[in-house]
Symmetry: C2
């Protein structure tokens, strides 16, 4: 890790740069890295390399890397792909530690390109030289006016950083993240990857907000560890693309990324405190919001507006994003009403237009904003003011008032929605001291404040995760059970899963195999009625779909009928299935039915699933995910994320179910998944939950040998 | 209607205007309507009125309306609220037909204000004089440089109109709707209302898009009739606020509007082809989109991009909004691949950066955009191009190429997402001919194209609604049943509802009242086993919540047990309820359970409801609404809007249910609601749906005398 950090310092704070592949063509449209760097204000030493030698823009050009009179901190390679390997070897020979490869056509392209990228990786192995790219716009440190790009960046420097998989986030940072300080486009990430850069930015003291543009990730669990720690220091914003099937396909061909299953990323982000942005506009405003406002300690919003209609729209937006309408104190209401015409009853939103028209808009705006932000029942204020005319000589320009009041209340955001043709001019005035953000709609303002509040109330100060290791589990029998079933390919098992669950302390029904009716009758007598019968067949994975389940069998006579009818149904619904027998199980007919499960993500590992039982989890996609391990609080949060919560809480007078018992099962399932990677997937369907506890009634798993 | 249309012409195309309440103070910050109008470029005659007389800005001021030498088409009143009534009477005396009252403090304020507004309405009754407002910024016709505002508007004139309940939509139209042509702020709508203005804009030939800002509506059914017709001529966009509880409360105090239940508005908008916008930014881009693009005939999108990463984000956005990735033809693929480096495999999104860098960006952009838009598998194209540097002398400025290619393919939108610090400059160039819209994110582009497509494929050419009147219904017995139950307040009835349903052709279980066990046994014998028993008690409206339902009773012995157990349960769960007896019903245990219902909205009238049965409709709020009458197609669409559709279609191998039968029940329920306004609400819960048909198993209604 130490070496990666120092390599990244080489990329971001080089004193000396060698540029390999400097074109002799200069000027607009030539995209000359050397020219851009010369003009950027960068203070370090630059050594252009081109086999032809000579001069470019009055500077000596070196014929080779070897000829350069010093060992640069960073080399930038921008030459055809077939020549890149040679250039990288020149760099390793010279002892250059940080190399950025701009060239496209490697893992982002064809088979040949993929093989060539492999060669690059082998060329640096053991040399101490690190690679960024290929297929990257490179690196940027706007604090030092340094960037490795063939495009001239805008210079809107902020205390934020971005790690991305596309150069547009560097070149268009003013737009996409409202400026930046540090930026690295990891491109194909042949060596330096997402996690390396994130770790660097998390530790960088100048960086107050980290933005991420992620198409896919290698090392999901390391990402979670780094992000989980970093999100306690500073907000992490992530724009994850490749969410959709079409997007994921395109991501694969763009940077060789595996976009992965989106809900797994969603779970990972939630667990490690990463705020997921919705699109580039969201990213822009969230980065701005986090830079401008140091805190927000609750969700109660006061609105001060020049338009009743705009106030209503803002209330709607606040509700959409889970913010609350502040309940102004009597003192606040008195001040607001005293300044307004008699016929008005001012409340929240506070319409200050009539008062402003009769008593001067600047005075009234100042008084009302200061009053609202001083109110102990208010956590943030949204001010709605017009930008109808140019702010010069405009009696409705309250920019200075807003900046001043915002400065007085640093712990409470003063957000502004302005509208009108002069919006941009007003925005520049309002944002000039960096303590106010102007939003183009109440929706943007409310969304941004909601995420700000979430960070400061839920993410920043959350305790370090207390993962429980559940004691007294004898894993040996489970390993034996699994080993006993493993075959060459994936194998589906049913009834042994209940025993595995039992070994991990998850209550499961007693379940025994019977080869025929006589054995079933005998077992039912042992287990005790009522019982359930379930078909056993390797060809049948969803028993109930083929009529292979019979529940609540109350006595011997009923069992005989149920047995015969079930075999008949299965025969007609699944004529090809070889029936091995039936399971006889103790039956628990009452309770809330939920589903628990395990699946495995190639990057994040075991994922635990919770949802409503029956067909409804699937029908409504009402399912919560966590990556194991997770805490008991997170297990309980999973319940709250689904509608099953209302059922477990006792819906419309029903008994409900024991949530702690379900949370316990989820934690135990997580540990089972972590300790037995051969379990590829597993479902408990249903887990019956009663006020007294939970019971796994049926389960199946897919087992596979580790590769 | 004719008189309303001509009155609105007076507001929007006045040749002569009298301004009542002209201040002697002029200049910045005085908000002088007369001064603003003089400077606006308006060509009509303006007559300022102020009792002091004299001159303002070199123009004669009249001491009274009577003194004005002609009868103006329009009078604008902006004086303290106590003087407004006198001024309105002056206008009626003079014979002025159109009056706009800017003054606040009427129904938007206190009791006194509400009474004063009533006086204004009485003052004009029968005079032929109409009112806009009070509490309005008035009217605007930017085509004629005319507006009645004390604020100077921007002059961004487009062929769109807006009817609103807040002046910000006139004063800030450049921002909020990207410009406008005609605009009316109806304010408190004491006379001229939302529907009047909508009707005028619908017929106005210059207006190509109608925007609406709605807080509430009076005359919901007239709104639907007008909008339903108008949406076939031109797109109607509506920003409905007061959606949230807090917003609705604020709307009530802002313009005296009743915000109403949001899902009823949602249903009304859907039924009459109104496109609901999400916020002001959405409104801005949708209005622009509809003005720029005359058509879009499908949802297949081709993406031409300079950035792979941006292409991926765009694919995600398209998927989010229900657009599809176009499947390029072989011809298109050949052209795109021939122009690109060998190592690239170009598809959709088409990354043209490598080709552009080697063969000239302008040529490549033109070729690829033209190729993609010529592809028969493409309905629209999103072009992603950078705005890194100033477009002057910028080799990446393809604005002209884009405008030209867009002009060649008028039936297929060419939408643009650009990013970078020079975005605004690029935007102005790209939009200069009005045939291209520049979006700030792929999300905005995809959302806008999705709504454009929806309008042109679903709304514009939809057939006039074919409402069916279901014949052979003898309503007399239903009226008798209802009349027999009506009392002073609302009355809940249960079993007679099944008979009402039966009369309207909705199949319902046979259901008979039994006062005791003996009667129940006798009735069950008549009806035939299996039967269901349900408790009868006026104090119990949700029978199953108190254990008052027993299903699938197979024989006499079971009935005896079930009867006794049910009475015991009810006694312990609802000790205060007076049990009148039990219902004995034929029982149909199999099928998909759905819920049908009726409720009444104060403005829109009878609303029919469909949802999944059991507790799930409520748990998931998975319910569809339509305002009666609606068509059979809409009834079927209601099914598709809920997850019940999947169950009815036969989920995971289950039998499913007859959708036509459910649609038929919905239509019949609509007619029942329309013909019997005393039915305040009604639920069929459940309607059991089998492949063969549907059957109402239980129902309840609340009846109330008409006021």
């Amino acid at each position: 890790m130490e070496s990666t950090i120092s390599a990244l310092k080489g990329y971001l704070e080089p004193q000396s740069v060698t540029i390999i592949g400097v074109s002799t063509r200069t000027g607009a449209g030539t995209f000359n890295v050397f020219e851009v760097m010369l003009n950027s204000g960068y203070k370090g030493r630059i050594f252009p390399v081109n086999p032809k030698g000579g001069e470019i823009l009055g500077k000596k050009v070196y014929r080779s890397v070897a000829e350069v009179p010093e060992v640069s901190d960073l080399a930038i390679i921008s030459i055809p792909r077939t020549a890149v390997l040679g250039a990288v070897k020149d760099c390793t020979a010279k002892g250059i530690k940080s190399v950025a490869i701009i060239t496209q056509g490697f893992a982002d392209a064809d088979e040949t390109g993929r093989a060539m990228q492999q060669e690059l990786m082998e060329a640096v192995k053991g040399t101490g030289t690190r690679l960024v790219g290929p297929n990257t716009l490179g690196v940027a440190n706007l604090h030092n006016n340094f960037y490795s790009s063939f495009l001239d960046f805008n210079k809107s420097t902020t205390d934020s950083a971005i790690v991305c998989q596309s150069g547009i986030f560097l070149a268009a940072s003013l737009d996409l993240t409202a400026g930046m300080g540090l930026g690295i486009d990891i491109g194909n990430a042949s060596d330096i990857g997402f996690n390396d850069v994130l770790e660097y930015f998390a530790l960088d003291e100048k960086t107050r907000v980290v933005n991420m543009h992620m198409e896919g990730i290698h090392g999901g669990r390391r990402f979670m560890a780094i992000a989980s720690e970093a999100s306690r220091r500073k907000p992490l914003l992530c724009f994850k693309t490749g969410r959709s099937e079409a997007g994921a396909r395109a991501a694969g061909s763009h940077s060789g990324s595996l976009a992965g299953e989106d809900h797994v990323f969603g779970a990972a982000f939630r667990q490690c405190g990463v705020i997921r942005v919705r699109d580039v506009e969201d990213m822009h405003y969230l980065n701005k919001t986090f830079l401008a406002y140091p805190n927000m300690s609750g969700r109660r919003i006061g609105v001060v507006t020049i338009s009743g209609g705009a106030g209503i729209a803002t209330m709607d937006a606040c509700a959409d994003h889970g913010l609350e309408v502040a309940d102004f104190t009597g003192d606040t209401l008195k001040i607001l009403n005293d300044m307004s015409p008699d016929w008005m009853d001012v409340n929240n939103p506070a319409d200050i237009w009539p008062a402003g028209m009769s008593r001067g808009y600047l005075n009234i705006a100042k008084l009302s904003l200061d009053t609202v932000l001083s109110d102990p029942n208010v956590d943030a204020c949204i001010c709605i003011t017009p930008a109808y005319q140019d702010p010069e000589n405009n009696p409705l320009d309250i920019s200075e008032v807003i900046r001043e009041v915002a400065g007085k209340h640093p712990g409470k955001p003063l957000a502004v929605w302005i509208f009108g043709p002069s919006r941009e001019k007003f925005r520049l005035r309002l944002e000039s001291e960096g303590n106010v953000v102007v939003y183009p709609s109440p929706d943007r303002a409310a969304r941004s404040l909601a995420m700000l509040c979430r960070y400061h109330t839920e993410i920043k100060n959350r305790p370090a995760p207390g993962y429980e290791t559940l004691g007294e589990i004898n894993t040996a029998p489970v390993s034996e059970l699994i080993t006993g079933h493993l075959a060459d390919g994936p194998v589906t098992v049913n009834e042994p899963v209940l025993d595995m669950l039992g070994a991990y302390g998850i209550p499961a029904v007693v379940s025994r195999r019977a080869a025929n009716l006589e054995e079933a009758l005998a077992l039912a007598g042992d287990i005790g009625y009522p019982v359930a019968l379930k078909i056993i067949s390797r060809q049948i994975s969803h028993k109930s779909d083929v009529g292979g389940v019979s529940l609540n069998i109350r006595d011997e006579a009923a069992l005989q009928t149920a047995y015969r009818q079930m075999l008949q149904r299965v025969k007609s619904n699944a004529p090809g299935a070889a029936v091995e027998g039936v399971l006889v199980q103790s039956f628990r007919p009452e309770g809330v039915e939920v589903i628990l499960g395990i699946k495995r993500d190639p990057e994040f590992g075991p994922v635990v699933i919770f949802g409503l039982g029956g067909i409804y989890a699937e029908l409504f996609r009402d399912v919560a995910f966590r990556i194991a391990p997770f805490t008991r609080e997170e297990a309980l949060a999973m319940l709250r994320e689904t509608k099953a919560y209302k059922l477990l809480a006792g819906y419309r007078g029903a008994a409900g179910g024991n949530m702690d018992a379900v949370a316990d099962c989820l934690l135990r399932l997580g540990q089972l998944a972590l300790e037995h990677p051969e379990i590829k997937e597993l479902d408990i369907n249903p887990l019956m939950v009663t006020p007294g506890g939970a019971l796994a009634v049926d389960a199946r798993a897919v087992l596979e040998k580790l590769k």
